[in-house]
Each structure stands twice: as structure tokens, then as C-alpha cells.
Symmetry: D2
Subunit: 480 residues, 4 copies
């Protein structure tokens, strides 16, 4: 099957999937005023692959035929750099919002391809061949994938099996000759409303008591019993005018609380089912790839913050003020430290299990932590330079009505720019850092692809302390 077009992709979403938005069943996810925007945004990945200007980056051709580079399993540092470049390109087309419908799924496939051979070896299972077949199915049909990992978790001071309600982590309720039945709910599942497939991974390491919770599998989105409850957040943007919200009127990512109401999964799509000691390694392997995706797709966002500061400083006539220059240098350092560490982590990538290239985990996590920890400071600096107009300015209709537009055009003129121009720039900056979309980015910075604490833990875990300790012990005369 050839690479799909955006139209083919959108058509494929019109199945019997069960999606609710604000309490109502959604009949067609491609035409819904909010969710449809998310589908259009996701289509960027398909559109790009047919754009001659980007085909070389987006499409790979090898013995398996022509297919999307997202599905190209990285083997070298160069593969990682190209993957990073592709993610950055798509996110730029997405106006700083990641597209994700192939990024996250292939991160999960890399994790599975690396870990399940060891499960097979230890337990005599045959997950490896299933994952391989599933990978080829997705690649050859050019599918869009969502990944559900984070359970709703209930009381986080307790493990899966210790919860009052056993369903607060997704678990196997029945093992049948033809497959398994699962129940529970996953939180924060991105792009599920506009994916073809959903890959489920365990959220954390599991103990023996939790073995029914050590489960990984994949199902089509229209599988019976799968219920997608969409987030109501940032629901106004897509109904708004691009004049007022240049990003979110056109771009949107949907998250769902994903309910598994006794969902049946046939064995050939089951990738882990009770082998509790591999839940942790699988969760981790996915994260090793996915956190690199995360830092790759944040680059257009941080560039946009630097650019916003530069453009607004110029338009406001304050570009030469020393405190403005100071804040701009802080923003540049923030963005370029992320860029440097991201590139470095890719360049230092080394083959892991199954020969799959893994970006340098420690620097990936340092980069991710750097991004996440500094994001709110960067927001403050952009808001500071842009000015209070961010929250006291006009709406789209004010600029479309002569009666009010005349005032805005006159009174918002700046340094060498008309009021119209400055208001356009201001609308973008507002959408970026002072809107529901802006709040979404803040929360994503802190929580998506692992929290600040998760990143710190991974830094501690992957740091090879022998050099530093040896150095000090030698210099202190404790060893020679």
C-alpha cells in the first residue's frame, strides 16, 4: 500500500469509534468543530509526505518499499538526527504544536521491539514475532497511532492491586483461548480520537501482586468496549477566529480519558500479559525514545518564544533597553541549550537491544528537565516584553468592525509598525503564552512525557558515577 494522502487518512477515521465530547457522542470526528481541527492538524504528517520539498526527509525507501520515515527504525546517530529533523519540521508546520500521530506510536514500537525478545527468552512467549508483524502492518498501511500509557492511578500512594477499586489501573480480567479481556482507564491519551490504532503500555514497574496489570497490547480505535472521553480543555480556540487565535483556531491536539470496558484483544495483538518483571523495562524503553521525541518537538516552540520576544521588543520600541536585551539573551540561552543538548543526545546515540539506536538517555533527560523547569520563566520573559496588551487588547470582531477598528489601528501603532501589524503579532504571542493554549503548553511542559521528578530520577539512574567518584578518591589520596 502506498503512502496515504491526507484525504485517505481522514476517511479512515470515519468508523464506528465511540467518542464523547462534553457529554455527547460524536458521530464524525473529522467534521466536529473541535475534534475535527485536531484531525486536520494531524493530517499534516500525511500532507508533508507528498510535498516534493520535503519528500526526501519524510519518506524512506528500502527493501520494505516506500514508507514514512517515522516508521524507519533508527540504527545510527544519523537516523536519530533525521528523525529529530522530521519531528521539528512537522511541528513547525503545526505552528509549534506537535503532530504526534506517528511520533509516539513508533516510539512505543521501538520500545516493544527492544524489550519483548527478552520476555520471550525468559518466558517462552512469542511476543517478538507479534510485535514485528504489527510493526509491519502499521508501517505498510501508513497508520496513525495513539499510545495509552498513564493509568488514572486513583490513590497514588498505593500500587495497582492495592487500590480500593481494582480498575484504577488497566488490567486483564479474563484470559481466553483466543485472547484477553481488559478493563480500566488510561488518562491523558493524546491523538486517540484521530488515530487508527491504540497501543497500550504499562505505566510503571509492577510487582508480582500486580501481574494482571502488566499488560501491553494494540487494538484498532473502533474496537468494541473502547470509549474515548475527550478533554474539554481549550475548547474555544477552534471555534474562534485565526485573527484572534492564530494557532489554536487551526491547530489542536485532543487528549482522552480512555475507557476499556471489558475490551477483548486477540492474542496476536497481545505483547505482554502478566510478565510483571518486564512492565518496568518496557515502560522505560518507550520513554527512552519518547522523551527524545519530546525534546525534538519542543524546539519550534522555544524558537517561537525567542522570536516573539524579538518581534515584540522591536515593535514596542524597547529593543535597546538593557533589561530587554538581558531577557532576550536568557531566552536564547534557554532555547539553544535545549537545541545543543538535543542534537548532542542524538549524535551520541548508540545501539540498544535489537540494534535499535537509543539517544543518549542522560542528556535527553537533562535536556527535557532543562526545558520543563525553565518553561515558565521563559513565558514570564515573553509576557514581560510583549506587554499588558496581551490581556487587555481587542477581539477579532473589534478589528472587523470599522467603528472600533479605527481606534485600534490608530492607537496600537508602534515603532515603525502600524496598529494592524502590531496587533497581528500580539495575537500570535497572546495565543502562544497567554491563552488556554498557552496554559496547555505550560502544563505539558511539566507533565508530558514524564514529570520533572521522572526526569531527575532518570538522570540519577543513568549517570555513571565512577569517573567522578574515582577522580575525587584519587585526588583525596584514598586510592591511587
Amino acid at each position: 500500500m502506498p503512502l496515504r494522502t491526507a484525504e485517505q487518512y481522514l476517511e479512515s477515521l470515519r468508523d464506528g469509534r465511540i467518542v464523547y465530547y462534553r457529554g455527547k457522542r460524536v458521530p464524525d470526528v473529522t467534521t466536529h468543530p473541535v475534534i475535527g481541527r485536531a484531525a486536520q492538524h494531524a493530517a499534516i504528517d500525511y500532507t508533508l509526505a507528498h510535498d516534493p520539498a520535503h519528500r526526501e526527509l519524510c519518506v524512506v525507501s528500502d527493501s520494505a518499499g516506500e514508507y514514512s520515515r517515522y516508521y524507519h527504525i533508527p540504527r545510527t546517530a544519523d537516523d536519530l538526527m533525521k528523525r529529530r529533523e522530521l519531528i521539528e519540521l512537522a511541528t513547525t508546520k503545526g505552528a509549534t504544536l506537535v503532530v504526534l500521530i506517528k511520533e509516539i506510536g513508533t516510539d512505543a514500537l521501538c520500545g516493544l521491539l527492544r524489550v519483548v525478545p527478552a520476555v520471550d527468552k525468559q518466558y517462552g512467549t512469542e511476543y517478538a514475532s507479534r510485535v514485528q508483524a504489527y510493526y509491519e502492518h502499521c508501517r505498510d498501511n501508513d497508520l496513525a497511532l495513539a499510545v495509552a500509557q498513564t493509568d488514572v492511578k486513583g490513590d497514588r500512594s498505593l500500587g495497582p492491586a492495592a487500590q480500593t477499586d481494582p480498575d484504577l489501573y488497566v488490567h486483564i480480567t479474563e484470559r481466553r483461548s483466543d485472547g484477553i479481556v481488559v478493563r480500566g482507564a488510561k488518562a491523558h491519551t493524546s491523538v486517540s480520537t484521530n488515530a487508527n490504532e491504540l497501543i497500550v503500555l504499562p505505566t510503571r514497574a509492577m510487582r508480582e501482586a500486580d501481574q494482571d496489570y502488566a499488560v501491553s497490547f494494540a487494538i484498532p480505535i473502533d474496537t468494541p468496549g473502547l470509549v474515548l472521553l475527550t478533554s474539554a480543555f481549550d475548547s474555544h480556540g477552534p471555534q474562534s477566529s485565526p485573527l484572534e487565535q492564530p494557532i489554536s483556531a487551526r491547530h489542536k491536539m485532543m487528549e482522552t480519558t480512555t475507557i476499556f470496558e471489558d475490551v477483548f484483544v486477540p492474542w496476536d495483538r497481545v505483547f505482554l500479559a502478566g510478565e510483571h518483571d518486564f512492565a518496568g523495562p518496557l515502560a522505560l524503553a518507550f520513554v527512552e525514545h519518547h522523551r527524545f521525541t519530546a525534546i525534538s518537538y519542543k524546539l519550534p516552540l522555544v524558537d517561537a518564544m525567542v522570536g516573539s520576544a524579538l518581534v515584540m521588543a522591536a515593535m514596542n520600541g524597547v529593543a535597546k533597553a538593557s533589561h530587554v536585551r538581558e531577557k532576550i539573551v536568557q531566552l536564547i540561552s534557554y532555547a539553544e541549550t535545549l537545541r545543543g543538548l538535543t542534537h548532542y543526545a542524538a549524535m551520541m546515540g548508540t545501539p540498544g537491544e535489537a540494534g535499535i539506536a537509543v539517544p543518549q538517555t542522560m542528556h535527553v533527560n537533562i535536556a527535557k528537565y532543562h526545558f520543563a523547569h525553565g518553561y515558565h520563566d521563559a513565558v514570564r520573559n515573553v509576557q514581560d516584553i510583549a506587554g499588558g496588551f496581551l490581556v487587555t487588547g481587542p477581539g477579532a470582531e473589534d478589528l472587523q468592525t470599522e467603528e472600533t477598528a479605527k481606534y485600534y489601528h490608530k492607537y496600537y501603532a508602534g515603532h515603525g509598525v502600524t496598529g494592524e501589524e502590531r496587533l497581528k503579532a500580539m495575537a500570535f504571542v497572546k495565543n502562544l503564552v497567554a491563552s488556554e493554549f498557552g496554559a496547555y503548553q505550560e502544563v505539558l511542559a511539566v507533565h508530558a512525557e514524564g514529570s520533572l521528578e521522572a526526569e531527575k530520577q532518570m538522570v540519577a539512574r543513568t549517570y555513571d558515577d565512577r569517573r567522578a567518584i574515582g577522580l575525587v578518591r584519587r585526588l583525596a589520596g584514598l586510592e591511587s
Copy 2:
């Protein structure tokens, strides 16, 4: 005239005022779906004054009769502490949003009462008696006041008279026997749509060339030529359900771009008209009072951030995690440093011109800077503890429809709490730190009542460096 009731206050707003919202003229600001909420919010100040539980704090009785404590000119540190307490009370009733309709106006009156006697002395003008009469008028009629200070400014690298368009700062275009005519626009005017009066102050120090821009006056909101263009920001909250947005569905502050289309001001309401060397002192005197108001009204906001972290940590079952405790201590220190410095600045307040008590300016500005600089970090900590649910959770309708509510209630249960309870808490926290209202608070932190740089300048200006320099010079042997 006795203290007005909320109803009398609302009735008083139904005059011929020219207000536009999203390109359309607003016929009645008290019933408009967005602006009406702002009026209802503002009415808190009137309701409180009639509440027996708060009357002692809210109402003062002296030789001028009974009147709102906001209008009580502070003479002592104790007066400042009471004023602070009143502002804190009203803001708490306003669900962390300041009410402001008397706070800001009386700050302006304090500034005017302190500065104009010196103008009169130097120029032989009679501003002092006018300001006094105007103060009594406002006090005795229990009026709601807005203050317009910040000009739209155009190219900020140029002064008022140097702009391409002379109207980018408000200025006198004509001096008549009965008054002056002014033209221009002020930005970020808060509560103007629901005030009775508008006090205009110069935004900065002026040079001789800018003397037509050195102007201060007061006018009723329905004055001909005064056009209020309301901000379109956070326009969804008020149409939303309190289930989804517990703060902004009920509370709102309106800002306007305030247009002076050749507005006539009679002489008895003119408080500065060309005496350019007093523009700076007047702007500053206002700010000395108003920045103290600012730090007073931020206390309920920072308390709510501490409370949000504590409540969410408990409900999520993570209250004992060391990183959570660390972040909570950071939030407490942030809030209580603000509280300590705010109280201290009041307790150290001393009489300025005309015997009006001025809070300790340096510590006010350190407190304001501390608040403003640390706000985004505090937001990050609250978002971190609350969780990604902030942006992936349900809307009001999801919880009002059995079909979806059943899932949310089951799957959002936490540590000792039902899903319903946790979702209620989450909705509040979302509204506080991950919504348009949250973005509004972020931008206000950075820009309202003076920017970060303005606060730093004032710290530098008010620091008495003799102690520190003398100490070092003595210890260094440079003097004895």
C-alpha cells in the same frame, strides 16, 4: 447620602456610557453576559459594607459621617493595616480577584491630595481645593472609581511629544475659559465599564516639550467623547458553568482601551494642566499607594496557590512525597514572605505630604517584585502537584450527563476522596492556574501596578545607601 447598596450601585451604571464589546455597542453594562459579571463582581464592595459581620472593618464613622473605609485617608500605620485587611477581605470574597472599584481610585486621590498643594504653591493654581472637593464628592456619594494612567505610548523609545501621532499620549488640545479639551487613549484601564467616575493621571515624568501631556482630571464615565473599548480577553469564562470555571464564571474584571475623543473637562475637575515638572511626582505618589494596594490584594491569591497545592497533594495521595513537600514549602515561603513584607511595610508606614500615611516604599517594592518575579514558579509548582488532569479532564456537560459522568466519577477517585470531590477541586485549580483567568493573573503579575523593572528602579531609588557604604568604608579603613 448613606452608603449605597449593591442595587443602587448597579442602577447607577445604567447611563449613556459608550462601551463596545467585540465590535458592538453595549446597551446595558449590568446585564451584558460578560461585562455584567464584572459589575456583579464589583458590587462585592457595596454588599460587604452592609454585612454586619464586616461593617466595623468596611465602614468608618467620623465628623464627615459614615462612609466606606476605602475613602478613609490613612494617617497612621494602623490605618494602613486596616486598609490592607479590608482589601484582603474583599479580594477573598472575590475568589482571589481584586474588586478595585474603590481601591485604585482612593490611591489616586491620596496621590493627588499629597502632590497638588506643591503645584499650587509653585504655580499659584488652585488644584488643592478642587481635589479636596472632588474627594468629598466621591466619598459622600459612595462612588465607584476607575483610574486611567498608562497611555498607549506608541513607540516607547520616544517621548510623548516626539511620537509620529501626537495622540498616542493623552493631551490637552484646547484650553477654554470653562475648561480643557483632551484627546488620546489610555490602555489597560481597569473597572472603567462599571465605575461612576474616571480619574486620569499622567503616566510618567514629562519634559517641558511635553507640557500638554502633563494633565490630570476626573470625569463621569458618561461624559461625551469618552469611548470604552473593552478587552476581549477571557470572554468565555463568564458564559461557562461554575462547575467548570468556579472563579471566572462568577468573577470578572474588565479592562478597556479608553478613548478620549476631544473630551471636555470643566476646570473644577482639572487637577494638573501643563505643570510638567509635577507629572512625575504625581505619577509616583499614586504608585506609592497603589503598589501597596497591589501587594495587599495578592495575598488571597497566593494563599489559594498554597491551598491548591495542599488540597491536590492530599487528594492525589502524594502529600508525603519529598519533592511534593519541598514544593509546598517553596509555595509557603513565597506566600508568607509576601505577607511578612506587606505587613511590615504597613507597620513602618510614615506620614508623607498632607499627613497622609505612606507605606514603606522600599519594602512595598521589594514585596511587589518578590510576588511578580516568583509568580510563574509558583504556578509551575501548583501545576506540577495538581497533575496533567488540569488540561485533559472533563467539561461541565461531561459531569451533567450520566453516560459520561459515570466514568469520571469512577475513574477520578483519589486518596480518600470520590471522583466528584476531586474533580471539583481540580476545576478550581484549573481555573486558578491553567485557564484564561490563570494567564490573566500571570500577565497581571508582571505588568499590573508597574513592571518588574519599575519595581527595581524604585528599590534603587529609595534605598538609603549611607549605612552600607559607611560601614564598608569604615571597615576598610577609608574613614573612621
Copy 3:
């Protein structure tokens, strides 16, 4: 007995005390080149009391006669403010180094006076009368006091009784009819070489198994078995020239590792002996007073840092550079936030047990944490403004030899100052922030009077979370 003179104080130190310095027994602590400076420095407290300019602050006269204000048990907020003022004065005379010989001991006495009545009540002991008698003895003889609290602790992951060596916390080895015998070692005991008495307090809360470690008592420094091993740190300063080290050539505080080699303590000087449940409260009560002493005596230090930055910026000709102004404002805010919170904590002090005024604990700890956490940043800012000359400049002899002095005088001239003047200022700043004394201050900032973590714990413990939680629960609709 009247207030002692400095000479009487110094004379009193010439007893049989066992003090070692760099492996050698010290015959006379008042004449030793290093330790003698510490004694001279400590004498400041005695000299000040006889200075007519300061007598009112330093001396109290009441029914107990005339005595040093340090011994005045605070009963009111005003008493706390005066005590703070006295500590600040003495530290200023000490060139930013605290004197401490009465500060810390009276903090310990306050802690004992507050806590032991409850011990007596629960255990039928008679500690209260002993402490009272001991307090009067110290006060009436105008004694200098050291306090030993921190045990050497060994493996900090284990409690006192669980250590491999039972002596790693000070403990009772024998209970006799006439007193107890103690053994062990305390670390970081300040001013012990030049005190008359040593008060011993438990370092932490103790469990029942640790009851022999729950011990408090007081002994004269020349008690048999008490061995003082002095710190070798910053041992060069006192031998150096004031030209090169204006602070440490004249001022010094000595710490000892304090060894209790089966020391006998008569019952009338035993204040806790096995009542393990009071070890924690006693440790805490002392700290409540002592941490307030700490923030009081840090004020001259932070003032000196602000002054250093101001003086060097001026001499270097960079006072108008925007980044220099920015750093100076940071230093001012750092110093004045500490001042504001310190004063506030005193002003909000309230009577604790036995009517002894306790400064507001939460704000004391926030102030201490603010100081400690920000100190290194302040050092960096001062070093930054002062310049690299701090570590590449001349020694005292270079300036005393014409051959080299001629170059230094010529080439170190600055903005409106001669080379001589600038080098004097530079020497002071170097001693303050780039010397062993500077390193000592850094480590003290982090460790003295409780670590950063101890302060955070105390903030968490003393924060009354009801206001913040109640506010959020009401606003979230969880309660009315």
C-alpha cells in the same frame, strides 16, 4: 557583681582549660596568636557595655540589679527588637562577625527556662529551679557562655544508640548520687575556647532506646575531662596584616570539636537526664531563639555586601552600567528582605512557655532560609562587581615596599580614587568574599544554626494550613 570589664573577662579565661591547636596544648588562650584574637574579638561584648554611647542598649537595670541586656529574658516584642538591635550593634563592631559569647548561651537558657517546667511536671524532677539558679549565676557574674549541641553523629543514617561506637553522640555513662558522668563529642562548638561556661543540649529528638543520650547540663570550661580541639580553619588571617585582611587579622571566632572524656557533672547543673521525650522539645526551643539571633547578626554582613558592591562599582567606574545596577538591586533586595522579615518576626513575637517571648517562628525560618539559600548568589554578585583583582592583587608587603608599591599605587587608580584607596577597599571586599573568612561565611550560611533543610522543615511544621485549605475548599464548592 558589677558588669565585668574586657580585662576581667580576659583574665577569667586563664584557667586550666585543656585546649589544643594544631596538635599542641595551648597554655593561655588569651595570648595565642590565633585563639587570642578570638578572645579579643569576644571582648567586644564587654567593652560595649562600658561605652556610654551604647550603655542604654547594652545594660538593663531592674530588681536583679544592673546586668547585660543579653541576660534580659524577653517578655515582649519590644524586648525582642532591642535584643536584635544589640546583636546587630555588636556584630557591626565585630566587623560583620558575630560575637556570640552571650547571644547563644542566653538562647539556650531561654529554651531551658521554657521547657524544663514541663519535664518537672511529668517526671517529678526539679530541673526548673536548677536552671533558674544557673541563669542567675551566669547573669550575676556576667559570664561568657558557649553551647554544645551538635553531636559528631557518625553514620547519620543511624540514631544515637544504633551507632557502632556508642560515643558518637554524647551520653550518660554513669549516674551517681552526686551527679552524672558523660562521654562523647560535640562538633562545631563556637566560642568555647573563650567562654566561661559550656551549656550542653541534645541535638535532636530521641527515642526511648536513646534515653542515655537525652542529656542537658552545664559545666565550667575548665572541668576535668573536657578537651577542646580547636579548628585549624582560617588560621592565617590572624597572623596576617590588617592591610591585607582587615577583618580576619582582627576578628576571629573559634570552633572546637568538644570532647567529653568521662566528665562528671554535679546534679545541680544537670537539666535533662534520660527524659527522652523532652530532648526534641528542648532542642527545638533553643533553636526558636537561636535562629532569631542568627538572622539578627546576619544583617551587618548583608549590609557589608551591599556596601561592597556600591563602593567597588563606584571606584571601578561602572556604577552606571545597567548590569551593575541590576546586581546591586538584587543585593539590596536580598539584604532588605532579610531585614524586613527579621524585624517582622520580632514585632510579631508572642509569649511562649514561662512568658518568654518567642519571635514568630515561621517568619524567622523563612528569613533564615532566604539568607542561607541566597548567600552564594550574593557572593557571586559582589565578586562580579569587584573584579578579578580580588585574587590577583598585592599582599601587604607589596604595599609596604617602595619598589613594588609605586607600581600598585599608579596602576590601581580608579574612578576618582587613588590606587591606595582602591586597594584598601579591595582588601576589605577580598576578605569578605574571597578568602578563608569568606569561605567560612559561606559554610556558616548553609550550616550554622540549622541547615537549609532544617529551616524548610520548620516552615512546614509551623505553617497553619487551615486558612489556605479552607479558602480553596470554599472556593471549589467543597464546603461552604
Copy 4:
């Protein structure tokens, strides 16, 4: 001439050079108790080159014969990586202190080789051939080089020619047929007492009025009129015991105030003499190489800080405390961000003028700023984890005298370590972060190889803003 041995190097320093230490002329810099240690430390570079284990890294063999890799002009990213590796190796041998006697000089030579061809082209001078000849002379004789760049500057608000004393910047006082005569003083000249040659560079961009100050040249250290006034800082370490100061008792770098008392320089060693418009480019080109040297040699230092924290946390028994883990992760992130950015800057190095590889300037400066800005925080974290013993512990003699040693050995035992071991580790950490050497490193962090502000300026200058501005303008609809 073959690569010199350490002995040959030391012998070469025994010439008539004029060096003063603490007011006295130093007859032999290799045997002086303080300066001699610096010579021994510098000899590391020579010793290493003869160590078979490191010869491949240290020595290059090409058409010019065998020579030290420091003299290998980098042409590729790989050359930069090898140079970085060599610098890191030598600094590790130097116990975290850079050796510098070839590092800095070759940085200066790279700068000269890149810039002087353009001077020749514009002015018809013949500097290029002189620099090339001088480079070959240094390389072929395996010389040790110092670089004097920073002038003493006097009043920094004024330029060179505007100073009251014309000598406050080094300048040409006479142009003769055989050469030039220079006068003035340079500050902070590192390793000059133990170099063979001194290269002089202008400190900044010069205006036409400053043309006599636009001067660059090289001279042997024993040139008449060259007077080296050594720094008196950290003068105790080298006289101390390695038991007490394991780093500074063995390792030392000397700085001098370098006086040019009408020094004659023959034309073949003059590289710039009045071409004022090239003073800036030359200063900058040097810095582009030298700041990369700086971040390379800081890596062993930051590794030692991480190692210190790890070792002390383990010995103190607090390795599992959550706040300790948090601080260690901060230290690791600090060190590894520096490592990642340093490697990245090398890997992205590109050929500049004359085909000489220049490390990526923007990331070099971000790395340097990251190091410099965060150093004091890192110090605080290490001091925090190590404990107050850093400044209250024993001296060398205490451990060499049985009478006192018995106590220290007993009472400083820790978690699985004897008192001896813990005190050894503590001594190293003390020397690293709480000593004059520690203060030296702090000041170097802020000032050496350019200040924090210099780095920020360079980041602003080298950031290509087109990507970020273009992105924002496109997304804002201001261009397509």
C-alpha cells in the same frame, strides 16, 4: 629540537626575569616556596608528553616533525575534540587546576593567525609572516607561553586615551626603526612567572583616538623593562601540608600584574601597531578560541564537585536522603550540561579565516555562561552535603600528633568509613570549595576568560535571529 622534558623546561625558567613576590625580588622562580609550586604544576604538560600512556594524545607528528599537540592548529571538528581531550587530561593531572602554559598561548596564536592577514591586506603590513615565524619558533622550541590581554583599565567608564594617566592601558610610546617601545600594565596575567614567552593582545575594540593602544606583540619573559608583580593570593596553600590541602599544597597557578617599563620590542615580534580597527577583531578571535579552552578545562572541576558530593553523602550516611539526592542530580545536570554543550560546540566547529577551526561560538558562550552563573550554586550544594566540618575540622598537625589524632580518628568515623578516611575526603572537599583555592575558583568562574556579561553579549551577537523571527512572522500572518 625535540619535545622538552620537564627538567629542560624548568631549567629554561632560570634567566634574569624580574619577578617580585610580596615586595621581594625572586631570584629563582623554580625553587621559590610559592612560585616554584606553580612551575612544578606547569611542568605537567611536559611530563605528560613523555608518558607513553598519553603520547598519542599529547604529541603530533607531521611534516613539521614531532611536536606538542597544543601547537597543532585545529582544522577540523575532530582536531577540536582532541584538543579538548588533551586539556581535560592535563587539568585532571593538575588536580582540577588548568596547566595553561600552552593552552592560552596557542589560543592567542590561532587568533593572530586568523586576523593579521586581513590587517596586511588593508594596511600593506607584513604581520602574517611574522606571526607564522613566531608560531614556528614556539612550536619547534616547545616553549611555554603566557598571554597578557586585560589592561588595568583605571576608570572603566573611560576609554584608553581618555584616562587621566595615559599608561592605564598598554600603549606605544615610541616607534623606532628597529621596533617599538611600550609602556603600561596588564592585569591578571596567568602563568607568566613560569612561561618562556609573553604574547600581548589588545583588550578590546579601539577607536582612532586610541590607536597607540592598538598593539600586539611577543617578547621573552626576561626582556628588559618587563616586571612581574606576583599575586599574593592563596599564598598559604603551597607552604601547607598535602594532608590539609591536597590540591593547593601541590598545585598553583600564578597571576601577575605585568608592568611594561618602556619595553623595547623588535619589529619581527610586533603583530599590531596602531591599526585600531583590528584591535577588536583580534581580541575577539583570541576569545573565540580561549573560551573554548576554558569550558574544556572546567570539566574536571565540575566532575570533582559531583564526585565530592557523592563521596561525602556516602561517608556521612545521607546518600538516601531525598534532599541530598535532589542536590546531587542538580550537580550532575550542571556538570553534564557543560559537558554536552562543550562537546557539541567542538563537534559543530567550522573553519574560520586561514582554515583554522573555530568551535561554535554561540554554544561555547552559552556553556561558559552556564558554568559561570551556576558555579556558586554548585559550591553551595557541595558545602551543604559535606557538612560544617569543612570549617571546623582539624589541621595537618592535629592528625600527626597522637594526643589529638586519637580523638579525630574516633569521632570522625562515618558510614562504613574510618575517621582517617573521612577526614582525607573532607580535606579534599575543603580545599576544593572552602579555602583560598575555593575562593580563587569562584572568582575565576565569574571573571576568567570573560565575565558573565561578556558571555551574554557574545550570545546576543552570534545568535542568528532570522529563524526565530521568520517563524513568528509567518505564524502571525505578517509574511508568508
